[in-house]
């Protein structure tokens, strides 16, 4: 059997995993499922596209590709600018909406509010950029043979590498820094963390920033390998939830592994039973998981 589906699945899984980390962080700190996370992915991609276009225009066409890749320094700079921008968008949404609801509303209301926000954000993108797909680059790439009949383009390899770097950085942030310790404290017990002197508001801000920034990276990856559309984040939303729950809500490594499982399962389904059943396979997998171990792979079941 051809192992190509593993390579395809790992790439899709990396994109889903990055987005799912945002879902899982928001859930563990703020206790609600954020339906607008998919919109951060789409907005992140469009932010990067805007910055990259502006840079290319300023430098008069500096977007010549580096080495074997289809993108140039322009896009890498754009990613670095767009990540905090998307984080700021998430912060802004929190300030305008979620912060007002956090005190008095039930978690159902907050989930529904995020549903409404996602609707408004998505239509706003469609309004601003129309629903015609956009591309970072129109370069074509030749896939390299990796052995065992598996091929991947240099772009795909670079993106998987980028995911690894981002997740590693996040892991260090969460385990080795003060703010990371504060975040874990709040996710364990918000009331107790506040009593112990943790600045909960700051933790909330950092959570949104991180979730937005990672969503942006995920959006740029989707934009580079597929295309940029206003609905790109919405289409990823259910896989994001599936990945976050598979890995165990609140667990960062879990979200990434969950993303990889969903990605590989979808690619395997496309390669064996047909692409039209792709979406269903991830869902069936998730339901099986929920029945056997409802808390997910990486979160211990409460005794």
């Amino acid at each position: 059997m051809n192992l190509q589906f593993v390579a395809d699945g790992v790439l899709t899984g990396a994109m889903i995993g990055l987005g799912a980390i945002g879902v899982t962080l928001t859930y563990s700190i703020l206790r609600f499922a954020n339906f607008a996370q998919g919109e951060f992915i789409a907005w992140g991609a469009y932010f990067a596209l805007l910055v990259a276009t502006a840079l290319g225009w300023l430098a008069g066409g500096s977007s010549t590709p580096i080495g074997p890749f289809s993108f140039g320094w322009g896009l890498m700079l754009a990613l670095i600018v767009a990540m905090p921008l998307t984080g700021a968008l998430a912060l802004g949404l929190d300030w305008a909406l979620f912060a007002r609801l956090r005190e008095q509303a039930s978690s159902i209301t907050i989930v529904i509010a995020s549903f409404g926000a996602s609707m408004a954000l998505r239509s706003l993108l469609e309004f601003l950029f129309t629903s015609r797909p956009a591309y970072f680059t129109r370069e074509l790439q030749i896939a390299i043979r990796l052995g065992w009949g598996v091929r991947a383009t240099p772009d795909q390899l670079a993106l998987v590498g980028l995911t690894a770097v981002l997740v590693l950085a996040l892991h260090v942030l969460l385990t080795r820094t003060q703010i990371g310790r504060s975040m874990r404290a709040v996710s364990e017990n918000p009331a107790l963390a506040r009593v112990a002197g943790v600045d909960v508001d700051q933790v909330v801000r950092v959570t949104w920033l991180l979730g937005g920034a990672l969503a942006c990276a995920s959006g740029v990856m989707v934009g580079l390998t597929v295309q940029i559309r206003p609905f790109m984040g919405f289409d990823l939303l259910l896989p994001l939830f599936a990945a976050a729950i598979l890995g165990g809500i609140g667990s960062v490594p879990g979200a990434l592994v969950g993303g990889l499982i969903v990605g590989i399962a979808e690619a395997a389904a496309a390669a064996t039973v047909g692409a039209q059943w792709r979406a269903a396979v991830a869902f069936v997998l998730l339901i099986a998981m929920l029945l056997v171990r409802p808390t997910g792979l990486f979160v211990a079941t409460p005794k």
Binding site: S107, F115, G116, M119, A120, S123, E126, A279, F283
Partner: protein, 317 residues
């Protein structure tokens, strides 16, 4: 005091029903149809209120029950000649009940967000199956069929005009409302509300809460399926779009806008949301969702108990 409350309720109920009965004579064709549609979506929202408002479980999978009711009705209407209304109702309810039983069995083992996501995932599985299994479901194009007549045995058969259809839908929705209201006031409904308030304590008192939850999901799914059958009869088609999770999301939106745990609130919410969407889409063409989302968010922020909760407080003051 109690009897006075009853008098007020029944008077209000009678006035609203009377207004809805005469509405088709006053409204132009488009709005007559629109009103019937609001009643159908209201029934769907009301069915979901049994879970959200009374049992404290948010279902994001009501599109599956609604859609299966629709396709069940389609199966009956396509296989019998002449199409039979009661058979359509029967098939639709059986299909919705079967799906609800399956979803209930699996999803009620989980709580909170896990329950919501499981129902969502189930509805998406049904969506993919219906979308892909083109030979039976017509795939993306859906199914078209003829409208049945309102027949009573061999004695009487009245073809559905828009007005008669409106009355039929009104009768079904009003009947469902009274039935659901009775159920929520029954001992069974009390147990559901006690699960919402404190699940652990309800279990400790000795109620088998898993069984109650399964029945609640099935009850809710059955009425959602009923709404699906009505929609299929009104529009004479069934399409996979109605199984997609956006329909479930809108159902929850109707509940939150109108006020959960009131049964009438979700109908008010559906009417408000659909009228607003209709009005905005006329003004702003395809970009109406931006303003719709913002208005919706404003309602959530400023009227956290929904329109009905707000109206109630306003009337009390």
């Amino acid at each position: 005091m109690r009897s006075r409350h009853g008098v007020v309720f029944w008077t209000g109920f009678a006035v609203v029903i009377a207004l809805l009965i005469v509405a088709p004579f006053v409204l132009p064709e488009f709005w007559r149809r629109f009103l019937t549609e609001i009643l159908i979506w209201g029934l769907l929202a009301m069915s979901s209120d049994i879970l959200i408002g009374y049992t404290g479980m948010v279902s994001f999978g009501h599109s599956a029950f609604f859609g299966l009711g629709m396709y069940g009705a389609a199966a009956a209407l396509l296989t019998t000649d002449p199409p039979n209304l009661w058979l359509a109702l029967f098939y639709g309810l059986i299909a919705a009940a079967a799906v609800a039983a399956c979803v209930a069995y699996f999803s009620t083992r989980l709580r909170d967000i896990y329950f919501a996501i499981t129902t969502l995932i189930f509805s998406q599985i049904f969506y993919v199956v219906i979308f892909t299994w083109t030979a039976v479901t017509g795939g993306e194009n859906g199914l078209n069929f003829d409208q049945p007549a309102l027949g009573f045995g061999r004695v009487l058969s009245i073809p559905f005009t828009p007005t008669i259809l409106h009355w039929f839908v009104l009768a079904v929705v009003a009947g469902s409302y009274l039935l659901l209201r009775r159920i929520t006031q029954s001992p069974f409904g009390m147990v559901l509300q006690s699960i919402r308030e404190n699940e652990a304590r309800t279990r400790a008192i000795g109620y088998a809460i898993e069984r109650y939850k399964i029945v609640a999901v099935m009850l809710s799914g059955l009425f959602a399926g009923l709404a699906g059958v009505l929609y299929a009869i009104q529009n004479q088609f069934a399409a996979p779009d109605f199984v997609f999770f956006l329909v479930s999301g809108e159902t929850v939106i109707y509940n939150v806008i109108g006020g959960i745990g009131t049964l009438v609130g979700p109908i008010v919410g559906a009417a408000f949301f659909l009228l607003l969407r209709e009005g905005l889409s006329r003004f702003l063409t395809e970009y109406y969702l931006i303003s719709l989302g913002i208005i919706f968010i404003a309602i959530v922020i400023f009227l956290p108990q929904g329109l009905l909760g707000f109206a109630r407080r306003w009337l009390n003051e």
